[in-house]
């Protein structure tokens, strides 16, 4: 069975089943936005949602994570990683799945990061394919992440009265095995899926003004690196760090020790840290190797569109649009990239997305 089918009226039953299998995290509403949260009541789960404030990254690369338990005297380090429980990320968008794939590349590259690998091993991903663009800030089509490209265990597609579920791993298969209400998809279901995909092609349009190889080329030129665009972006930036916090592929961290009041036992943590912070590249001696907001913003963009492409042949922008959505200063990724593609008219792109009416 490669594709299964689940009637919508049975969804909650399935969610209850999943809740018993493992810790279940799913999107739910928080004020006017959405967040991933542990599912208490399956009725709170939102399947149609805008990208959440933070990506599910917080579950496999937590904001503050134990690296080490230590004792000063006698010198002792305890097992660095507690046993994690199995967990399911439910209704993850394809952009966020692409984010997990990027994290895999980083943390699996030697020397491997056992904390991440361990959490990843406990993770089961149930994806949810989008059939309408979430808003004007997303650039998932240009990044090629508006459609499933692997990296999940199950992928759900809403075809009206039911969901088609693509089974992509044994782990996924186990979540739907032996359930009377989940059956193999029939021909009719598959035809509907095909129709949905055709329809989607008409609605989803590329957001950047050039295909990715052109974008990469633009980022590769010395002119782009030295572009006055970065001064303008840096002038607006307040270095709040929001763009990096919400990015599914930002993985920088700080390491800090916390001592117990015994002053003999303590814990070493890693905590999210951002290249947008003032002290990020400053050494103890005082020298700051990346001064000023223009250089820091440039670095953020280059870490999405240039450096990882050189190193891994992979773009580290997944197109979720979070950085643009969260920016108080209206630094909009699509505007910045389009301006870089067309340096002569760079100024004309400021506000070109921001002032556009919302997609409906």
């Amino acid at each position: 069975m490669k594709y299964a089918s689940l009637k919508k009226e049975d969804l909650n039953k399935w969610l209850e089943h999943l809740k018993k299998k493992a810790r279940l995290y799913a999107p739910r509403k928080k004020e006017n936005l959405f967040v991933f949260r542990p599912v208490k009541n399956v009725k709170d789960v939102c399947l149609e949602y805008m990208p959440t404030i933070l990506p599910p990254k917080k579950y496999y690369f937590p904001q503050k994570e134990k690296l080490l338990k230590f004792t000063v005297n006698p010198f002792k380090t305890a097992k660095a990683i507690a046993e994690f429980e199995e967990y399911i990320l439910f209704a993850v968008h394809t952009c966020d799945i692409a984010g997990i794939q990027c994290m895999d590349v980083i943390f699996r590259e030697g020397p491997e990061d056992p904390n991440y690998l361990n959490r990843k091993e406990k993770m089961t991903i149930v994806g949810m394919e989008c059939f309408k663009p979430c808003d004007k800030y997303a650039n998932c089509v240009s990044m090629g992440n508006h459609v499933p490209r692997g990296g999940y265990d199950l992928m759900m597609v809403d075809i009206g009265k039911s969901f088609i579920i693509h089974i992509n791993s044994q782990k996924g298969e186990r979540l739907i095995a032996d359930l009377s209400y989940i059956k193999g998809a029939n021909e009719n279901d598959m035809r509907k899926l095909e129709e949905k995909r055709q329809e989607k092609k008409k609605i989803f349009k590329e957001e950047l003004n050039a295909p990715l190889p052109k974008v990469y080329e633009a980022f590769s030129s010395q002119g782009s690196f030295d572009s006055p665009l970065w001064d303008e972006v840096g002038r607006r930036c307040v270095a709040c760090g929001n763009c990096t916090a919400v990015c599914p592929t930002c993985y920088c961290f700080d390491v800090a020790d916390e001592m117990e009041l015994s002053f003999n036992e303590g814990t070493r943590f890693r905590i999210w840290n951002y290249c947008q912070m003032d002290d990020f590249a400053r050494v103890a001696g005082g020298e700051d190797f990346r001064k000023g907001r223009p250089a820091r913003q440039r670095h953020r963009y280059y870490r999405k569109f240039k450096y990882p492409v050189d190193k891994y042949n992979r773009y580290f922008c997944v197109g979720c649009g979070r950085c643009s959505r969260t920016c108080m200063a209206d630094i909009i990724l699509i505007e910045t990239v389009n301006a870089l593609l067309d340096p002569e008219n760079a100024a004309s792109y400021v506000g070109s997305v921001k002032n556009r009416p919302e997609v409906k």
Binding site: F70, E109, D254, V255, R270, V283, A284, G285
Partner: protein, 288 residues
């Protein structure tokens, strides 16, 4: 996904877990720099290359990257020389013989010693730069006939800041190392040069094609020294530098040490000038 068994093994040997090191010798070299000789638990050999660094931990006070200043040919221990500049290093200065600390590493790429066999060497050390270069110098002393002429150019603020004074004399006496030193500010007893280290380079007699230049010093020094070396027509690949950056992991993950797309902790800290030239503008040490 990787096999569960393999994973558990990896978890046990987490690269974030420091080994236990014991200080077997500690002494102040100057007012601000302290020397430590460290032995790992069970006499484990650090097995490093000259130019590599370790992450030194003191639990509760944090962790910092520190250059190793002994040669792998010094077996059974390794040396560090630390300037008191931050929380970790100031705590480190309070430690002495018999105290323990955490060690991770060695990390990074060291000096390309194999490529340097048979070549003449010009070694340029500014200030604390002599610390990582001591690992190279000691290696050279141990394998002196693998290398051609060796010249050591030293620069520091004032004569009292000169590190490893006795050892330098010994190198000079024992193994035909040409040695020249300059200070920014002399004291009455000083008989050597006064001025920036760049002033020593034009007078150096070399065959550029047969010479490797190895430069380590404060960030501001590189540009000018590299400029002088390029004037001597030393090829880009034969100008070697070691760069200092902020580091939190040593594993190419935490992001702090990045120069553009390169992680200094993994691709460096040792680079050659050809690599530096490829940077578009984030490398402060690149010559103008």
């Amino acid at each position: 996904m990787i096999d569960r068994e393999i994973l558990l093994e990896k978890v046990k040997t987490s690269p974030y877990k420091p080994m236990k090191g014991r200080i077997i010798k500690a002494e102040m070299l100057t007012e601000k720099e302290k020397f430590f000789r460290i032995e790992l638990e069970d006499k484990v050999n650090l097995a490093h290359e000259p130019g590599q660094f370790v992450m030194v931990s003191i639990f509760g006070y944090g962790e910092a990257p520190i250059s190793i200043c002994s040669s792998p040919t010094d077996k059974g221990y390794f040396d560090l020389t630390v300037r008191n500049v931050g929380t970790l290093t100031s705590r480190l200065h309070q430690l002495g013989e018999g105290d323990t600390l955490g060690i991770r590493g060695p990390f990074g790429k060291g000096f390309p010693i194999d490529n340097m066999f048979g070549y003449d060497l010009v070694i340029v050390a500014g200030g604390l730069g002599i610390v990582p270069l001591r690992s190279l110098m000691r290696y050279i002393m141990h394998n002196r006939n693998d290398f051609g002429n060796v010249q050591l150019l030293l620069g520091c603020k004032s004569p009292k800041d000169l590190l490893f004074r006795e050892e330098v004399k010994e190198w000079k006496r024992r193994a035909e190392v040409k040695f020249n030193c300059t200070v920014d500010k002399a004291d009455p007893d000083w008989q050597g040069n006064v001025g920036l280290i760049t002033t020593l380079i034009p007078g150096v007699d070399i065959n550029p094609m047969r010479t490797y230049a190895v430069v380590v010093g404060p960030p501001i020094m590189y540009k000018f020294v590299i400029g002088e070396l390029l004037n001597k027509i030393i090829p880009d690949h034969q100008i070697i530098v070691s760069l200092e950056r902020r580091m939190k992991c040593g594993l190419g993950k935490c992001g702090h040490c990045q120069i553009e797309g390169k992680y200094v902790c993994q691709s460096g800290p040792v680079f050659n000038y050809a690599q530096l030239k490829d940077f578009k503008g984030e490398c402060h040490e690149k010559a103008a």
